[in-house]
Amino acid sequence: MIHSLFLVNATGDIFLEKHWKSAVSRSVCDYFFEAQERATEPENVPPVIPTPHHYLISVFRHRIFFVAVIQSEVPPLFVIEFLHRVVDTFQDYFGVCTEAAIKDNVVVVYELLEEMLDNGFPLATESNILKELIKPPTILRTVVNTITGSTNVGEQLPTGQLSVVPWRRTGVKYTNNEAYFDVVEEIDAIIDKSGSTVTAEIQGVIDACVKLTGMPDLTLSFMNPRLLDDVSFHPCVRFKRWEAERILSFIPPDGNFRLLSYHVSSQNLVAIPVYVKHNITFREGSSQGRFDLTLGPKQTMGKVVESVLVSSRLPRVVLNANLSPSQGTYTFDPVTKLLTWDVGKINPQKLPSLKGSMSLQAGASKPDENPTINIQFKIPQMAVSGLKVNRLDMYGEKYKPFKGIKYMTMAGKFQVRT
C-alpha cells in the first residue's frame, strides 16, 4: 500500500514528508527530480516513475507535487485518487492548498494524514468524518483553544464511520433548511481550420450544497434522463433505483458534495456556442504577419456568452504583436509568446474582434506550426446538453426545505485550430 508521501514545490524542495510504514529516505525523490528536470513543463512530469526499489506516483496540483512512494504492487489509480483526496481535504480545511497554508498548519496536516491512512490503507477520507475527528482551524477556535486549553481533536468516536450512511453525520441541525444544486457543463471541443467540429463532448456535474436537518431522503428527477447514459455517482446514490426508474434517490452528505458527474459523448450532437473567424498569416521572406480574429455567438439558445478569454501561443518567430481589440484588453508576452485577449461579453450586434500585425524575426523562415486558439467562456442559465431537472422531493423529515437549481455552461478544453 502507500508507503510514504513527499510534498515538493515548484523549485524542487521537499517541504513535508509523511511515512505510514518504515521511513523511506528522501533521496528516493532524486529520481523524481531527474524526471522533473527532463520535463519541459511541470505538467509533463510522468505520473508513474520507477526507481530501483520503489515506485513514485505523483499528481501536480496548485503548483505542488504530491509524490507517493510505493513498494509493492498497488493500483496506481488508487494512489492517484487518494492523493486527490488529500488535496481536496487540505483545500477544505485551509481554504487554499498552498505551500504556505500547509506549512502554517503543519500539525493539523500531520494529524489529517495520520487519520487518512493506516499502514498505507485508507482509513477516513470522507470530509465529514475527518471533521468530527479533527476540527478545521479557524481564527476563533485557535483563540478559544488557547484560552480554554481544549483541542482540535474530537473526543467522540466518529459515528459516521460505522453507520450505513458513512457519508453523513447524525444529529445535524439547521435553522434554515436548504438544498441547492448546480448543474455545470463543460464543453471540450476541437474545431478545425474551416470551422467544422472535429470532436465535441460534454463533461457535466451536479454539485450540491445541502444543509438539511436530520436524515432527509431526497429524490431528484429529470425531464430528459435519457441524456445521462454515462454517469458516475456519489456513493450515496441508490444505483438500483436509477437503473429501474432513472431517478436519483439518496440520503445526502452534509454540506458540499458532488452528486454525480456525467459525460455526453461525441457521438451525440453537441451544440457549439461560439464561433471564431480567424486569419493568421505569415509570408515567406516578410518580417510582418497579419492577425485577424473575430468571435461570434452560435447556438446559445438566446443566452449571453460572457467571461470570454482567448489565448494562443504564437510561433517562436513572432517578436511582438501590434493589435487593436474592438473591446476588452489583450497582452502578448514576447518571452512565452502567449497572446491573451480578455474579451468579456459577446454582443451579437457588435462582434468582438482583434486585428493588427505581428513583427517577425528578421530573416527567419515561415513558422512550421500553426497556432491553436484556446477559448474560455461561460454561459449562465443554460446547460448546453439540454439537461433539465424536473423536481426535487424530500422524504423522512417534516419541515419544508428551500430548494434551488442553477445551470451553467463553460468551456472546458475548447480549441480552435488555425
Binding site: 513535508l16 489509480l77 488508487f78 502554517d104 485508507p122 459523448s265
Partner: protein
Amino acid sequence: ETNKLYCTSVKCCIFELKAELNSDKKEKKKEAVKKVIASMTVGKDVSALFPDVVNCMQTDNLELKKLVYLYLMNYAKSQPDMAIMAVNTFVKDCEDPNPLIRALAVRTMGCIRVDKITEYLCEPLRKCLKDEDPYVRKTAAVCVAKLHDINAQLVEDQGFLDTLKDLISDSNPMVVANAVAALSEISESHPNCNLLDLNPQSINKLLTALNECTEWGQIFILDCLANYTPRDDRESQSICERVTPRLSHANSAVVLSAVKVLMKFMEMLPKDLDYYGTLLKKLAPPLVTLLSAEPELQYVALRNINLIVQKRPEILKHEMKVFFVKYNDPIYVKLEKLDIMIRLASQANIAQVLAELKEYATEVDVDFVRKAVRAIGRCAIKVEQSAERCVSTLLDLIQTKVNYVVQEAIVVIKDIFRKYPNKYESVIATLCENLDSLDEPEARAAMIWIVGEYAERIDNADELLESFLEGFHDESTQVTTQQNTQVLHKHTQNTPDSDNPDLRDRGYIYWRLLSTDPVAAKEVVLAEKPLISEETDLIEPTLLEELICHIGSLASVYHKPPNAFVEGSRGVQHKRLPARTASGESAESPDAGQSVGGVSDAPPAVIPSQGDLLGDLLNLDLAPPSASVPVVPASMQMGVDLLGGGLDSLIAVGLAGGTGGMPAGLGGTPAMGGGLGDLFDLGGGVGMATGSYVPPKAVWLPAMKAKGLEISGTFARRGGGIHMDLSLTNNAMSIMTDFAIQFNRNSFGLAPAGPLQVLTPLAQNQTIDVSLPLNTNGPIMKMEPLNNLQVAVKNNIDVFYFSCQYPISLLFVEDGKMDRQVFLATWKDIPSENETQYQIKDFHLNSDAASTKLQGSNVFTVAKRTVDAQDLLYQSIKLTNGIWALAELRIQSITPNYMTRLRTRASLSLSASLWVQFAMLYDCGFLEGLDHFVVFP
C-alpha cells in the same frame, strides 16, 4: 502565530523544547509536543527528546495522546529500550471503554516496529480482533498485516491468519473489506499458500460487502474477486451482474478494478449470449469517462485501454474521437492517445485519423511530431486501402521541408515500400530531392535502402550511393551495414575497410560469397525481406492475457508481468484468463496453480518493434546497443552457436544438413557452412532441412493378403520433398514384374510424382527398397482419419489394396517459419475456439533441444520467452496446402511436462485431428518412455 513552529536552529529547539515538555503546565506541554511533531514533520531529528515525550503519554487528553503516538511511531525504532516504557499504557488503552481509544492503541502498537513491543502486542490484538465494536475489529485486521510485516512467523504461530480469514464473513462490510486488504497484502509475500481461499460462499459474502463498504474497500474486494475462477458461465454471469454497477462509481480506481473483473470473467461467457453483448456495450462509457479526468488518471487509463483494445477491439471501436489529442494535453497523454488511435484505425475511420495525424505533424513538440509521422506510416501498413492516401499525406509533409518531418517521413515510406513493393515508386523522385537534408542515421539508412532496392529505376543510383559512401567512416553502424548490403545489391565488389569487425566480417563473407558463387550471393543478399507486419508492437498473447488479469495494476502501466519488477515479490502467481466452460463441465483449467517458485530473470517480454530494417534483414550479431531485445528466437541462438561454438554442433549440422536444400556451391568449410546456415535462416528459412522425423517401417500389406507380395514402408521428408520409402518382398513362388502404384484421393492431395521404379523383376525371396517421390498435386478428398492414405499396388499377378497413415509432419514445409510480428497478429486473429491444448507428460528435453529437434521436422520456433521457470516457445508450421498452424509450447523445467496450445485458422475439427497428429510427432519423434498424452478440454 503558527509559523513559530518552524525553528531556525535545531539545537536551540531541542534545548527549549526539553524544558517545555517537562513543564508543569498542561497547555505548555501540549504546545511543546506540537512543536516537536512539527519539527519531525519537516525532517528534523528530534529523537533526543524521546524520554521527555513518552512522559507526556499518560494523559486523558486525546489530542495529546495522539500526538505522542505519532512521535512514538516515528522514533521507537531508534530507541527500542525507551519504547518499552510505553507498553503498559498501550496495553491499558486496549481495554479502555471508549472504542476510539482501543482502536487507536492497537493501531499505534502495530506501527512500532520494535520486536520487544511486538511480543506484548499479541494478547491485546487477539482481543481486539474479536472486539464487539466493528471499528476496533477493522483496525485490528490491518494490524495483523502490520505485524506480519514485522514478524511473519509470529503471526502464523499465533493463529492470527485464521482469525483474519474468519473476518471475511464478518457482519460489517468495512471489517470484511479490511480483512481482504490485509490478507491480500500478506499473500503477496506468501505466493504459495492460498490465504484467500475463495469459494462460492465467500464470494457471495464479498459481493454483499461490495455494495456497502467504502470506495477503498470496494477496490480491495474487486481486486480480490478478480483472482477467483468461477465454476461455470452461469456463476461468471451472476458475478458480472453484481459487479457492473461499480462501473458508475465516481472513484476511477473502483471503475478500473470493476473493468478488470468483467474483462476476466467475460472470457467464460459464450459469445452468442445476449448478456455478453450487453456487457460489451456497458464497458465503453466508463472507459471513455476516465479520459475526461485529470491527466494522471488519464495516463493510467490509457495504458490499460491499450491492453483492452488489443484484447477486445470491439469495445471501443466507435470511440475513436475521444482519443484525439488536445494541444495542451501533457506529452505522456499525447503519446498514449496516438498509440491507441493507430490500434483503432480501420477502413471506416481512416480518413478522420489521417486528417488528425496530419494536424499533429504541425505541432510544436518535435518528439510528438515525429511519432505522428510514424503513425501515418503505421496506418498505411495496417489499413491497406489507406496506403495511397497515407503516401500522399507523407508527400505533403515532405513538401513542408521541415527537416525532422522529412526524415521521419522517409523512414516511414521505406516501410510502406517494403509492405507494398512496386506500387508507389513514382514518389522516389521526390524523395531523392531531399537527399541532402538527411542527417539522421535512420533516415539515411532508409534512403540508401530505397535507392538500392529500386536501383534499376533510378538513373543515377550509382552516383547517389557513391555520395553516401563518401562519409562511410563517419556513419553509424546502422547506415554502414545498410550501405554494405545495398552496395552489394549493386554488385559492387569493393568492400571498404572498416574498423567495425561486424561490418568487416560481413563484408568478408559477402565477398567470399561473391567470388565463389554469385548466384548464391544473390540469393543471400537479395533474399526475400521479412514481411512488414500490420501491427508493429503487439503484445505477445500469453503476456497480454496475463496483463488483462492485472488491469489497473502497475503491471498494466508498464506492460510487464508483475514479477518482472515488483521488489520483494517472491514468485508471483501467473494469472491466466479462465477458459470458457459451460455449466456442468469441470472448470479446473489445466494449468491453474502453475505457480513456480523463483523470480524469473527473464527480461520484459514485449516483442521489440520492428522499427529498424537492419534488425530484420541481418538480425543476429550486431548486438544493438539497447537492452530491449528480449526475444531471441531459438533458431538464432543456434546460429550463434554454430558460428562461435564447438565442433559438436557443427558436425551435427553437417550431418543433419547434408541432405538439406543448401545450394551445392556453398559446401565449403564447416565454419563457412555454419555461418551461411544462419544467414539462410535469416533470409526466411530457405533451406534448413535437417533430419525430420521418420517413423520406422511398418508392414502395410502382409504377404498372405497379396499373393505373396509383402509391402512395408514409411514416409519421409527429405530435401524439401516427400518420399514414400517402400520395401517390396517377394514371398511367392514366382517372379514379380510390372509394378505400378496409385493413390486414392486423400486429404492433402498426395500423389506419386513418378512411376514406381522397380526396374528389374523381383525374384523369389528377394527384397527391394524403393523410394517413391510424392507431390501434393493430386485430387483431394477428406479422409477419416485425416492422414489416411489408400494405396493400390499392381504387379503382374494382381492389384492389391492397402491403407496406411502418414505422419502429419510429412506435410510441414520448409518455409514454415513465420515472421514474429505476423505470428503475433495471426495468433491474436485466430479465435480462441480454434485453440486446442495438450499436455505432454514426462518429457525431459530442454527447450533448446526441443526447438532444434522440432525444427528438424519443420516446426519452427518463432520466438522464445522465459517466465519464471517456464520456457515458452512460439512455433509455426505451414502445411503443404498453405494452412498455417501456430503453437505455444510451455516447458517447465521443474516438472517434466509440456503444455501446448495450438491455433489454426482452419476449422476446429481439422485443428483437433491435426493436433492428435502433432502430438504424435512429439510422442514418437523423440519422447522415449512416453505412455500417454492428455487432451484438453
